[in-house]
C-alpha cells in the first residue's frame, strides 16, 4: 500500500480501514522543536526590520514561545514568556524589538526581547482577543480588542488607554494595515477604522457572510495601500470584500475547508481558523478546522493548492517577512467541544516553503 496514499505516507496498518492519517507531518515540512503543550492560538513572524526570522507562538498553556528559524529551516528555541491565562494573540512592534501578548488574563504585556523583561501595558474587563501594533507618523500605540466589547488604544507609557471605542459586540478578530483597521465582532458586525491622526470609525459594513466571523486579514493594492480584507467564518467560507469597491461585483465569497464535494450527499463544513496574505505575491492562505491549509489567488479567483490533512485542525498560520516560509500550527481548536480534546495528542508547528506555490495564477 505504499504508493496508494500518494505521499508515500506509510500506513502500516495492513488493512483497508481508512482512519485519520497516521503520519503527523503529511506535507513533510520542517517541524519546529519544543512546541507548546496545549493548543496554539496565534503565530507571528518577526517583521522586516530585523534580518533574522523569529517566530512567536502563543498558546493555551499560558506561554509565548520564541524560536529563531535559520536558513535551513531549523528552529532554535530562544526564550519564553508567561501570562496568567491562555494567550489569545501576539504582535510584534514595528522595529522587531518587542512582542506584545494578550489573552484570557485580561491583560496585555509588552515583552522587550533585548532586556528580556516584560511589563503590563493594557487591561480590559474581559479576555483580550486581539492585539495589534499601530505605527503612524505622529503616534504609535497598541490596539487591543476584547470580549468586553471595547477596542482600546494604549500608549505604552501610560496606564490609561489614550482612546476607547465601544464595539457593538465582543471583539472576535481584527487586523491592522496602516492606515486601516478592520474589526469584526460577535453577531457578524464588521467595522472599518481609519487610523490617521487618531483612530476613528470609517464605516460599518454589512456582513457578506451568514455565519459567525472567525478571522480577518487586510490586503493591499498594487501600490501598497490597504484596500480590502478577507473574512473567514465558521461555515467554511471566505469573503473578499473591498472597502470601497469600484464595482459591487468585485466583492465575492468562496467556499473552502469542506469535505467531500458535491457528488456526495453529506458534506462536513469546517471553520476557517486563520487567513493570511502573502507579503509579496498578495495571494492568500486559509487555515481550516479540517486540518488543511489552502492557498488562493483572489484576483484570478482560483485555488492554488490544498494541503494534505493534518491530524488535528490548523489553528493559526503566518508568513515570514519575505514570504518564503509559511508557518502553520496543528492543534485542537475546540470545534467538536471539550469531549474531543485529547491532551495526549501532540501539537505541532510546521514551516512550509511556499514562495513558488503562492505565485499568482496568470489570468486566463
Amino acid at each position: 500500500m505504499f504508493g496508494s496514499t500518494g505521499f508515500g505516507g506509510s500506513s502500516f496498518m495492513g488493512s483497508n480501514v481508512v482512519t485519520a492519517p497516521t503520519n503527523h507531518n503529511p506535507m513533510k515540512d520542517f517541524e519546529v522543536v519544543s512546541p507548546p503543550d496545549e493548543s496554539i492560538s496565534c503565530l507571528e513572524f518577526s517583521p522586516a526590520s530585523i534580518p533574522q526570522n523569529f517566530l512567536i507562538a502563543g498558546s493555551w498553556d499560558n506561554h509565548v514561545r520564541c524560536w529563531e528559524i535559520d536558513q535551513t529551516g531549523k528552529s532554535i528555541p530562544k526564550s519564553q514568556e508567561t501570562m496568567q491565562g491562555p494567550v489569545l494573540d501576539v504582535a510584534w512592534s514595528d522595529d522587531g524589538s518587542k512582542v506584545f501578548m494578550a489573552g484570557c488574563d485580561k491583560m496585555a504585556k509588552c515583552w522587550d526581547l533585548n532586556s528580556n523583561q516584560s511589563i503590563q501595558v493594557a487591561a480590559h474587563d474581559a479576555p483580550i482577543k486581539t492585539c495589534h501594533w499601530i505605527k503612524s507618523h505622529n503616534y504609535s500605540c497598541l490596539m487591543t480588542g476584547s470580549w468586553d466589547k471595547t477596542l482600546k488604544f494604549w500608549d505604552l507609557r501610560q496606564q490609561s488607554p489614550i482612546l476607547t471605542i465601544n464595539l457593538p459586540e465582543r471583539c472576535y478578530c481584527a487586523d491592522v494595515e496602516y492606515p486601516v483597521a478592520v474589526v469584526s465582532t460577535a453577531s457578524r458586525h464588521l467595522l472599518v477604522y481609519q487610523l490617521e491622526n487618531t483612530p476613528s470609525e470609517a464605516k460599518r459594513i454589512e456582513s457578506p457572510l451568514k455565519y459567525q466571523h472567525r478571522c480577518v486579514s487586510i490586503f493591499k493594492d498594487k501600490k501598497g495601500m490597504p484596500t480590502g480584507f478577507a473574512l473567514g467564518s465558521i461555515e467554511g467560507r471566505v469573503a473578499i470584500q473591498y472597502i470601497t469597491p469600484s464595482n459591487p461585483k468585485d466583492n465575492f465569497t468562496f467556499k473552502c475547508h469542506r469535505s467531500n464535494g458535491t457528488n456526495q450527499q453529506y458534506q462536513d463544513i469546517y471553520a476557517v481558523n486563520d487567513i493570511k496574505f502573502h507579503p509579496v505575491h498578495g495571494t492568500l492562505a486559509t487555515a481550516g478546522s479540517d486540518g488543511r491549509f489552502s492557498f488562493w489567488d483572489k484576483d484570478s479567483r482560483t485555488k492554488l493548492k490544498t494541503s494534505e490533512q493534518m491530524e488535528q485542525s490548523i489553528t493559526a498560520c503566518c508568513f515570514n517577512r519575505d514570504g518564503q516560509i509559511f508557518a502553520y500550527a496543528v492543534s485542537y481548536d475546540w470545534s467538536k467541544g471539550h469531549e474531543f480534546n485529547n491532551p495526549q495528542k501532540k501539537n505541532y508547528i510546521f514551516l512550509h516553503s511556499c514562495y513558488e506555490e503562492m505565485k499568482p495564477r496568470q489570468k486566463s
Binding site: 514568556e81 524589538s97 470580549w147 482612546l163
Partner: protein, 364 residues
Amino acid sequence: MGRKKKKPSKPWCWYCNRDFDDEKILLQHQKAKHFKCHICHKKLYTGPGLSIHCMQVHKETLDRVPNSLPNRGNIEIEIYGMEGIPESDIRDHEAQKQAGRITTAAGADSSDEEGGSSAKRVKTAQPAGQESTGPSIPSLGSMPITPMLASPFMGMGPMNPYLGHLSIPMMGSVPQMPLPGGAASSPQTPSKPLFASSSSPSSSNSASKPAFAAYSSGGAAATIVGESTVPKKSGVIATQAGSSKIMHPEEDLSLEELRARLPRYQRNSVPTSMPQMSVASPQNTTVGPVSTVSSGQMGLPMSHLPAGMMIPMPMAHMALPPHMQMGMGPMGLLRAPHMHPGMPGGFAPYGAPLGFPMMPPRFR
C-alpha cells in the same frame, strides 16, 4: 442576451433557487450542476434528457435531479433556463423574494465550485451567489438584527453602568443601518446615521473616563463585569442543515469563548487594573497542564508573574543567568534575589516547565 428575457426579474434556477445575472449563466449552471451525469460527467440539456441518458448508457435509474432542493428534484419536469417553470413556483419565488428569505445556505448551496477554478471564468454571479444581489441584502439584515439587539442589551444590563450609558444610544442607532429598503443605504453608511465621525472619538473618550474609574475602583467589580459580558444565554447556530453539517458546537459563542469557560483556564481572578500594585492572587495556578510536563519540577505554585502589575518596576524575572538550564531540578525555580519584596510566591523561569532549552536571549 437571451431571448424573451424579463429585465425586471432576475433569472433563477428552479432546481436550487439560486439567482443569476443572466440566463446564459443560469444555463451553464444548470448544465453543470443539475444536468450532469454523475457517472460519466456528460452534460445533458434537460432533466428528462439526463434521466434517459443514465438509463440507456449506464443502465441506471435516476430518481431525482442532482444538487436540487428536496421539493424540486422531480426529474420529469422539463426546465431549460427559465423556461418550463410551473406558474405556481414562479409565484412562490416572487413572493419569497419580497419577504426576503434567508437563502438555503449550506445545504443546497453546493453549486459553488471551490475557489472557482473553472476555466469558463464564470462571472461574479456565481461565487457571489445570492449574497450580493440587492433583494437578499435586506433579508440578511433584517433577520439577524433582532437577536443582535437583544443580546447586547442583556449583556449590557448588569454591566458597568457607565458603559451601558454610552452603548444605549449606539444600540438604538444600529438598526438604521442594514434595514430593508435601506439596502441602498449601505453605501451611505459611512458614519452618517451612526457616528458623526468627528464626534465619536471624543464621545468615546469622555465616556471612557468614568468607565475606567468605575471599574478600577474595585477589583472585584471588574471581574464580575468581565464575566457578564458573555451573555449567559447564548444563541444557537443552525449547524445542521439538510445534507451538510457545520463542525462547530451549536452555541453561538466563539470557540475560544467556549474553551475559556473551562475552570482550568479561569484561575486568573487577578484584578486587572494597572495602576494598582495589588498583589495578584498567586494561587493562580493557571498552568495545570504545564505541571504535568515531564520535567517534573512542579512542586512550586507556578504563580506566573504578576509582573503585569509592575509598571514602575519592570520585572527582571527573565534576566536569569544562562547557566540556568533545564533539568536543574526544582531549585532552578527559586531565584530569590530577583524577587521583589511583596512579590508573592516563587516564580517560574520561563524555560523551565516545558523543557525549553534556555538559550541566552540575545536578539541582536
